[in-house]
């Protein structure tokens, strides 16, 4: 346990503790305010619509916040020294080697995906997906006040993406990943010689289709199997469209917006499924899944 507290209080990990606490607090705050607005006929914000003068009522808040933040920054900077380790040495990789904390969620995904997905495609999808939000969310309600009832899908999806896929993975990557990027529970000692024996297999091998032919070329059956898995997963979005296309919501959303939403949503779910495929089998003594789809050019 001592070592866990030590990791927790490492100066560079303070922001993550802050992140965790503030995210919990603000999620709770949101929940309280949203519940209150959902019960009332008119959101609380709408009753505070009378105008006040910026000088002094807003400026004084800014002024006080500035002083408070400056005080916090000065105390923080006096109390904790920024880390400065050994001089750079290309030949000696520290164990574990970690990216800056805000990228640890992505680094965690590197365990499950090839670098081109985890390092390039997923970040791009995150950025593009975030930018697309205002243009695909056609729900006019919930503009400018806290609410949950009026935009459940939006809040749940974003909350899952931000709280679980981003914050929780950062916390996991910082506090629970030790040497060799092995998983350690809080309280376990980070043993640099710990060896996790993991023999990964491809998903098709669960169904008796070996990925590689004896001469090390790709088995076409495995290729087709993977293509069907991935293609079938994304075609769920198409099926849902065909089933519900005549509802009011879908008519209003339109095919283009729907395609964007379903692609991004399924991609997010797909990431979770791949993580589960990697982690869950070990609980039953089976081999974790390495790839779902192996092709000559890329592996998913």
């Amino acid at each position: 346990m001592g070592q866990f507290l030590e990791i927790l209080s490492k100066p560079d990990n303070i922001p993550i503790v802050l992140l965790l606490l503030s995210v919990i607090y603000f999620t709770w705050l949101y929940w309280v305010k949203a519940k209150r607005n959902d019960m009332a006929t008119v959101p609380v914000e709408a009753t505070q619509d009378d105008k006040v003068q910026v000088w002094p009522y807003l400026v004084r808040i800014e002024f006080l916040m500035t002083i408070a933040i400056m005080a916090v920054m000065v105390v923080w900077s006096i109390a904790l020294d920024a880390p400065l380790e050994e001089p750079a040495n290309r030949a000696l990789t520290p164990n574990p080697s970690k990216a800056p904390w805000y990228f640890l969620g992505l680094q965690e995904l590197l365990v499950y995906f090839d670098p081109w997905i985890a390092g390039v495609v997923l970040p791009t999808l995150i950025i593009v997906g975030l930018m697309a939000i205002p243009y695909v969310d056609i729900n006019e309600k919930g503009n400018g006040y806290y609410t949950y009832k009026e935009r459940k899908f939006a809040v749940l999806t974003f909350g899952f993406g931000f709280l679980i896929m981003w914050v929780a993975l950062i916390v996991l990557g910082t506090f629970l990943r030790g040497p060799g990027w092995n998983f350690f529970w809080p309280g376990e000692v980070w043993d640099p010689h710990y060896v996790a024996v993991l023999t990964n297999v491809d998903l098709s091998e669960y169904f008796g289709i070996t990925t590689r032919m004896p001469d090390n070329s790709l088995n076409p059956l495995a290729f087709i199997f993977g293509a069907v898995c991935v293609g079938g997963f994304y075609s769920l979005g198409v099926l849902y469209w065909i089933k519900n296309r005549n509802t009011d919501l879908m008519q209003k959303l339109g095919l283009v917006r729907y395609s964007v939403v379903s692609f991004l949503f399924l991609s997010m779910v797909g990431v979770v499924i791949k993580v589960i495929l990697r982690l869950l089998p070990t609980a039953f003594g089976l081999n974790p899944v390495k790839y779902v789809w192996v092709t000559p050019w890329f592996n998913v």
Partner: protein, 255 residues
């Protein structure tokens, strides 16, 4: 004495109105001040409610200012070459008066800024403030988030210690695998990408993290990225005003 001063032409040329607490002077405080002029004269009361705004956007801007100032001060002692960078860091941390304070503040403010940007985005999402007419400003905000992460990441390399070089090695190695543009990415080699002409090579200025990388990241961190960030911040703040100030339940009230 002070009254005499207030009557001089010099004083009057600087301060255009008296400080007497009247509604008119309160408005003039905002309108006649180039910095406060960012604000409207009056705002809805919920805009002064911290539990609505969380104050994270403003704190982010404050942290950006702190980072700019401490960053400029750090530049006086830091030389961005592989030979000197680490020595200069040691010098800053051990012998420069207030050096550790400035460096610590730069680093912690950078961490804090990443945090506040994320929380600001969380709040804007939860209040639905990206909805019309503010769609474009959300896009600008996402770009600012990316710029914040890039600024922080490029600054990570500058101490030139083990922590920085390996974090950046791991980070930039992902660029190897960029589809089409990386020499190990899908379809990259087929397009003629090699280790010395792909997208990672441009970032690093070499085939591995080395002295040219330090210089590139330094220029990017100190000049290029802040400049772009300032431009986007200007657009961001301006659009907040142009899109009707802070978001609020106007539609709900009309019903």
């Amino acid at each position: 004495m002070f009254d005499q001063l207030k009557k001089t032409e010099v004083y009057k040329s600087i301060f255009r109105h008296s400080y007497q607490d009247t509604q008119r002077n309160r408005a003039l405080q905002i309108v006649d001040n180039v910095f406060l002029h960012l604000h409207p004269v009056r705002v809805p009361r919920h805009a002064t409610n911290l539990s609505y705004t969380w104050g994270m956007g403003g704190i982010t801007f404050l942290l950006f200012l702190i980072l700019t100032i401490t960053g400029v001060i750090l530049m006086f002692y830091y030389r961005p070459t592989a030979q000197y960078a680490y020595e200069d860091m040691k010098y800053l941390m051990n012998d420069v008066p207030f050096g550790p304070l400035i460096r610590n503040m730069h680093r912690w403010a950078a961490h804090a800024m990443v945090l506040t940007v994320m929380l600001h985005m969380f709040r804007v999402f939860l209040t639905g403030s990206y909805k019309p007419p503010r769609q474009f400003n959300w896009v600008v905000g996402v770009l600012l988030l990316v710029l914040t992460l890039l600024l922080s990441f490029s600054g990570y390399l500058l101490p030139w210690d083990q922590l920085s070089i390996w974090a950046v090695t791991v980070g930039t190695n992902m660029a190897r695998a960029t589809p089409l543009l990386g020499h190990e990415g899908p379809l990259g080699p087929e397009l003629g990408m090699r280790i010395d002409n792909d997208v990672r090579f441009v970032l690093l200025g070499g085939t591995e993290v080395g002295p040219p990388t330090l210089l590139r990241f330094y220029v990017g961190h100190c000049i290029f990225l802040p400049l772009i960030a300032v431009i986007f911040m200007a657009v961001h703040f301006w659009r907040v005003r142009k899109d009707g100030g802070i978001s609020g339940p106007e539609a709900a009230k009309k019903i």
